[in-house]
């Protein structure tokens, strides 16, 4: 039971980031879970290896918050798959979260750079 709790902790830490990445990957059109995982992996140049458990928990959560919606459809190679697409609320959320993220990384970057300058 403890291991499960600690896993939940880890998801909570990643939550914001993973949510953002999922929302972003859906900007270009509906996609299924496996496609989203692949897209994130590819676009991050294999830095992010999406853990599938977290992915589906996140998808579930986003769906419950009505930021994405899902429907069963057929993939390019005629496979039945569940396709997720952004809702209007999701688009708004993406814009918000993206700017939040940029502010955060800029601030972190400023601090890290300043330290480097002093040390250098």
């Amino acid at each position: 039971m403890t291991t499960r709790e600690s896993t939940d902790d880890r998801i909570a830490l990643l939550q914001g980031t993973l949510d953002l990445l999922i929302l972003k990957s859906l900007v270009f059109g509906p996609c299924h879970g496996q496609g989203i995982a692949r897209a994130i992996q590819r676009q991050s140049e294999d830095v992010f290896l999406v853990e599938h458990g977290s992915l589906y928990v996140a998808l579930q959560r986003l769906e419950e918050r009505k930021w994405i919606r899902a429907e069963w459809g057929v993939s390019e190679n005629n496979r039945k798959a569940r396709f997720y697409s952004l809702t209007d609320a999701g688009r708004e959320q993406l814009a918000d979260k993206a700017s939040q993220w940029r502010r955060l990384t800029r601030a972190v970057g400023l601090i890290l750079d300043a330290t480097q300058a002093e040390e250098g």
Partner: protein
């Protein structure tokens, strides 16, 4: 929009799609079909875990699981009501009996007084008081001079408090016009403040109240409830105690029964110095009360240590003062005399009760502990048997991926349910049992189970839960997941290791049962002996009560009793009336050495020369029905002006007059110029209690000796003895309207009180013995019945092979007789040990009493046979063909 929650199937379909999509992609990247699938699956991890996570998401995992366990356990218990009820009742009896005995033991021996900060409260104790003094309890009572000197030492004690009852039993009180009796103590001014006992109404006493001997009283919550119906207007009411008025100024906090052992004090008054309110209700000795009599050590002392002061430090400070004060008014200690030594003990339990009830209670606790052992193992065995039949269910669960932890949790939950239900029932049982125990033991103070008792019970139940969870777990796990796929009943049946444990437990229970039965038999035989011990006279038709009138002169007292005797003799149905100063059968006695024929007698073989004496009136022995063997008994004509006459018993004549005819010899107290001529010898009879051996006795006539006070009146009547009391009360109140009949009862009841504690002990032991037998029988029956049901196939085969029904029955009976034999072999030596521990509580029976052991052995054998009869019959009834067909 209403969104339906996604189904688990929908989710698992999505997982499946994911894996296939991934595999396809991998194949496109150049992997073989099979390899791609394998990698996709591996990358995804456990599908099942993801599904579970999906299910658990957003739920309070722990609570949910637990609730599910609880529901499951409840359902499975309800499905087998026979098992559930047996287990709960067994547990309730075992735990309840322990709770009840523990709460009595706790109250009597362990509990701190209900006062503030009890850790600093101590009783004062002493070694033997100086020569020439009289005492109530050698180790526990002190003279007023000691108290007065010690309380002036303020270095170690915050408060030093004296308390003493106004009567050895109850004291005459009056609130309106009707005389009543109540239990009252005289106490120091610091009694309530020093002990830290709150007053729920009004105020307590002050130092000033003690100094002025203020006519004020505080009543107990119990008395306020019982006598005044909790009327708030009670403050200001006048309470007359032996005729003196006291104004009620306060009501003590609920739960404070006073400091008298096993009694509940009704009221307290400040220490008084009046002849009619002497300590213990004694007549004053030569006009002196306890306050001015340094030879009478009659006060109990209790103190509160200052914070940070240890008992040893306090004793060090007080010892010299105490030893000096001990000789106040007594002169210098004799050469070689040991001075009394002061000590302090924690104020725990009732003072004086540890000596009297300590060992019996500890033994009783041991006995009920054994009962508990039987009860717990019984339930554990029931659970094991039950769960063995559920082995298939557990195997299935293990095969489906349940962890051992999950199984343990489920079993613990069942155990918890059983223990809580049993525990609640046990608590109710204990509350009533405790009340009954208190009534039997004549303990009036509150014995109600309190927090400490609750902790004890919960502790026992916690052990039970763990036992009930852990014991069947082994069995649950023993099958392992593989058992689920096996089908044969024979294959999934008993494994030998487990039955060995079951048999071991039954043998252990038999052992314990033998011990309990022997103890019970010894105590019950003791009781029978006591009840059948002849008293030396016939108690049928005898009724007794006390009166305590006020006298201003000796002559007035004698006149009062003479007149009372005449009045009582005149009541229709009264055959004869006798007076006595110390009531027979009350346990009280006056013992000292007397001069015989002018000198201290010499007893044969250096025995005791102490003589027990009593003061009685004319016709006393005639009233009792004790035969006068020689001479005559006291007559109305033996007055103060007539020659001084006395009587003795056979033992007196035998021990001090060496078989000579006692008539004409004299005896008398060594310190008074009284020479009393023996005019009669009576047959030995029981005087103080049923279990006493004959003692030399001497009797004075109350009309001839210079002491008079409270007396007991003995009446022999025709018909129902107690029916004469209203007429007797009327006769007494014609003489003095203030006088109640104190402690009226039949003489038989008075003697029965002297063995009340043996009665209690024997009844309890008998009850626990029976309980143990019943539990063992239930356990044995359960185990055997279960084993027979598991061996149905085997029995069927045996019978198909030609075994006769008789042989099958013998097979089952042999089994339980074997266990009984083991139990007896182990139990008898243990019982001998217990018997030796009981020796001090036995009367007329030796610890190795053969009949008791035979009874116990017979008892367990009968139980074993009775418990086996039904399973054996069922085994014999097995139809070989049916048994084999179920395979």
């Amino acid at each position: 929009m209403f969104q339906r929650k996604r189904s688990a199937e929908d989710f698992s379909e999505e997982m499946q799609a994911h894996i296939e999509l991934e595999a396809e992609e991998l194949k496109r990247e150049g992997l073989s079909d099979e390899e791609a699938r394998r990698q996709a699956r591996r990358k995804f991890g456990s599908v099942r875990r993801e599904q579970e996570r999906f299910y658990m998401q957003g739920r309070w995992l722990w609570l949910d699981k637990w609730l599910r366990d609880l529901k499951h356990a409840l359902r499975s218990l309800v499905e087998s009501p026979g098992f559930t009820i047996t287990a709960i009742v067994t547990l309730a009896l075992g735990v309840g009996a322990n709770t009840a005995v523990f709460s009595v033991m706790h109250a009597v021996l362990l509990r701190s007084l209900p006062v503030a900060d009890p850790d600093r409260v101590v009783y004062l104790r002493t070694t033997a008081p100086p020569n020439g003094t009289g005492t109530i309890e050698t180790a526990e009572t002190f003279s007023y001079a000691d108290y007065d000197a010690l309380r002036k030492q303020t270095g170690a004690m915050e408060a030093l408090i004296a308390y003493v009852p106004l009567s050895a039993s109850k004291v005459a009180v009056r609130i309106g016009t009707q005389p009543e009796e109540a239990e009252g103590d005289m106490v120091s001014g610091a009694f309530f403040s020093g002990l830290g006992v709150r007053l729920q109404r009004g105020r307590g006493f002050t130092e000033g109240d003690e100094k002025d001997h203020a006519p004020t009283a505080v009543i107990s919550n119990d008395y306020w409830t019982r006598r005044f119906a909790r009327n708030p207007g009670v403050l200001g009411t006048t309470l007359y105690v032996n005729g003196d008025g006291f104004t009620i100024i306060g009501v003590a906090a609920r739960g404070f029964d006073g400091l008298e052992a096993g009694q509940s004090t009704d009221f307290w008054i400040p220490l008084q110095n009046r002849l009619e309110l002497n300590a213990w209700g004694n007549p004053p000795q030569s006009g002196k009360t306890y306050m001015s009599d340094p030879t009478w050590w009659c006060l109990r002392l209790i103190g509160r240590l200052k914070p940070g002061i240890t008992k040893a430090q306090a004793v060090e400070q007080l010892q010299p003062v105490f030893q000096e004060a001990a000789y106040t008014g007594l002169g210098r200690p004799a050469a070689g005399e040991k001075k009394p030594v002061l000590s302090l003990v924690d104020a725990k339990g009732f003072p004086g009760y540890a000596e009297m009830y300590g060992n019996p209670l500890r033994l009783l606790m041991g006995l009920v502990g054994l009962v508990l052992l039987i009860a717990l193992t019984n339930v554990a065995m029931l659970l094991m048997a039950r769960n063995a039949t559920r082995q298939r269910e557990f195997s299935m669960k293990l095969a489906l991926g349940a962890g051992r932890g999950d199984l343990l949790r489920q079993l613990l939950t069942e155990g918890l349910l059983l223990a809580s239900a049993g525990g609640m029932l046990a608590w109710f049982f204990a509350v009533y049992a405790t009340r009954a125990l208190g009534a039997w033991a004549q303990i009036e103070s509150s014995l109600a189970p309190d927090d400490a008792v609750l902790c004890f019970t919960v502790g026992v139940l916690a052990v039970a839960v763990i036992l009930f969870g852990a014991a069947p777990l082994r069995i649950a796990l023993a099958g392992g997941p593989s058992l689920a796929i096996k089908t044969s009943a024979a294959v999934s049946g008993v494994d030998t290791g487990k039955t060995r444990i079951g048999r071991l437990i039954v043998a252990l229970q038999m052992t314990v049962c033998v011990v309990l039965l022997v103890a019970a038999a010894l105590l019950i035989r003791t009781l029978r002996d006591l009840e059948n011990t002849p008293l030396g006279f016939n108690t049928d038709g005898l009724v007794v009560f006390d009166v305590k009138p006020d006298f201003h002169s000796l002559e007035q007292g004698r006149e009062f009793y003479r007149e009372l005797t005449d009045k009582l003799r005149g009541i229709p149905g009264v055959e004869s009336v006798g007076l006595m100063m110390l009531r027979i059968g009350s346990g009280a006695s006056d013992n000292n050495s007397l001069l015989v024929d002018g000198k201290l007698p010499v007893a044969p073989n250096g025995g005791s020369i102490s003589i027990r004496n009593n003061v009685v009136g004319p016709e006393f022995f005639h009233t009792l029905g004790v035969p006068v063997l020689a001479g005559r008994e006291f007559r109305d004509s033996d007055t103060a002006s007539a020659p001084l006459v006395g009587m003795v018993n056979e033992e007196f004549a035998l021990r001090f007059l060496h078989g000579e005819n006692p008539l004409g010899h004299t005896f008398g107290p060594p310190n008074m110029p009284l020479k009393i001529t023996i005019i009669g010898v009576v047959k030995d009879h029981k005087y103080r209690s049923i279990d006493e051996a004959p003692v030399p006795m001497a009797w004075y006539d109350y009309a001839q000796i210079p002491v008079i006070g409270r007396m007991s009146v003995e009446m022999r009547v025709h018909g129902e003895p107690l029916a004469v009391l209203p007429a007797a009360r009327k006769a007494v109140q014609q003489m003095d309207p203030n006088l109640p009949l104190i402690e009226p009862m039949t003489q038989r009841a008075q003697y029965d009180l002297t063995i009340s504690y043996q009665v209690l002990f024997a009844r309890l032991a008998g009850f626990f013995g029976l309980l143990a037998v019943a539990l063992v029988a239930a356990g044995l029956y359960g185990t055997l019945a279960y084993r027979v049901s598991r061996r149905t196939a085997e029995i069927g085969i045996r019978m198909a092979m030609g075994a006769r029904r008789g042989q099958v029955v013998w097979m089952i009976l042999k089994d339980s007789l074997m266990l009984t034999a083991i139990g007896v072999a182990a139990g008898v030596p243990l019982a001998m040990l217990v018997g030796r521990a009981l020796a001090s509580s036995l009367y007329g029976v030796t610890p190795l009493d053969g009949a008791s052991y035979a009874l116990a052995v017979l008892g367990v054998t009968c139980v074993a046979l009775a418990a086996s009869a039904w399973p054996a019959r069922r085994a014999a009834g097995v139809e070989p063909l049916n048994a084999l067909r179920t395979e």
